[in-house]
């Protein structure tokens, strides 16, 4: 079975631009979460979607938005990019939407903002 797939793998953007990151969960998983990982730190929670509804939002500005599609894939959008948005963006899927469901992470999208 395919794992969580994310695209693109790498991205270079300029300050002020907008970016869309994509994620396909493991087949059968209905929950998708997005995390930001800055070098040397643990992943930080951005959003969780379960059954196409937003179930949680982390401490990120409104420039960050996401959605989940009927096939459970998801997109993360970031507007008005700042240098500090440079990070590894991880998508994780889980079978259930609760906190006891282990997360299965994709390989991530490495975003560099110049």
């Amino acid at each position: 079975d395919a794992g969580v797939t994310q695209s693109p793998t790498h991205l270079i953007k300029t300050r002020g631009q907008q970016v869309t990151l994509r994620c396909s969960p493991i087949s059968g998983h209905k929950s998708v979460s997005w995390y930001q990982q800055v070098l040397g730190q643990g992943p930080q929670f951005i959003f969780q979607y379960y059954e196409k509804e937003e179930r949680g939002r982390g401490n990120f500005p409104d420039r960050f938005s996401a959605r989940q599609f009927p096939n459970y894939s998801s997109e993360l959008n970031v507007n008005a990019l700042l240098l500090g948005d440079s990070a590894l963006y991880l998508c994780a899927s889980s079978l259930g939407g609760g906190h006891n469901s282990p997360l299965h992470f994709g390989n991530g999208t490495r975003l560099t903002v110049t």
Partner: protein, 113 residues
């Protein structure tokens, strides 16, 4: 908000030595999950603990959850070079109904052959 503190930040060991990383919280944790991230890779789920005082083993890895559910540890016996990576603990705040996990800052393990 909830914080999960993890120590040490770095650990360098000789192959065959033991390794332990600790995870502490000032608040009661609903659960604790442990993940391993190899250099250049993504976090991979290792195990979940939910009961007070719970101990689980996976081959050379032993995971413990404190009696007060405020701390946890991961112990590796006789490390191997394949154990290299960053080990993260992660938890949800008590009563959280959705899947937000708060990750510790991780312990970077280096194993010298």
């Amino acid at each position: 908000g909830q914080q999960v503190m993890q120590i040490p930040q770095y650990q360098h060991v000789q192959e065959g030595e033991d390794f332990t990383t600790y995870c502490n919280s000032s608040t009661t944790l609903s659960n604790i999950q442990w993940y391993k991230q190899r250099p250049g890779g993504h976090p991979v789920f290792l195990i979940q603990l939910v009961k007070s005082g719970e101990v689980k083993k996976q081959k050379r890895l032993t995971f413990q959850f404190g009696e007060a559910k405020k701390n946890s540890s991961l112990h590796i016996t006789a490390t191997q070079t394949t154990d290299v990576g960053t080990y993260f603990c992660a938890s949800a705040a008590g009563g959280t109904s959705y899947g937000k996990l708060t990750f510790g800052q991780g312990t970077i393990l280096t194993v010298h052959p």
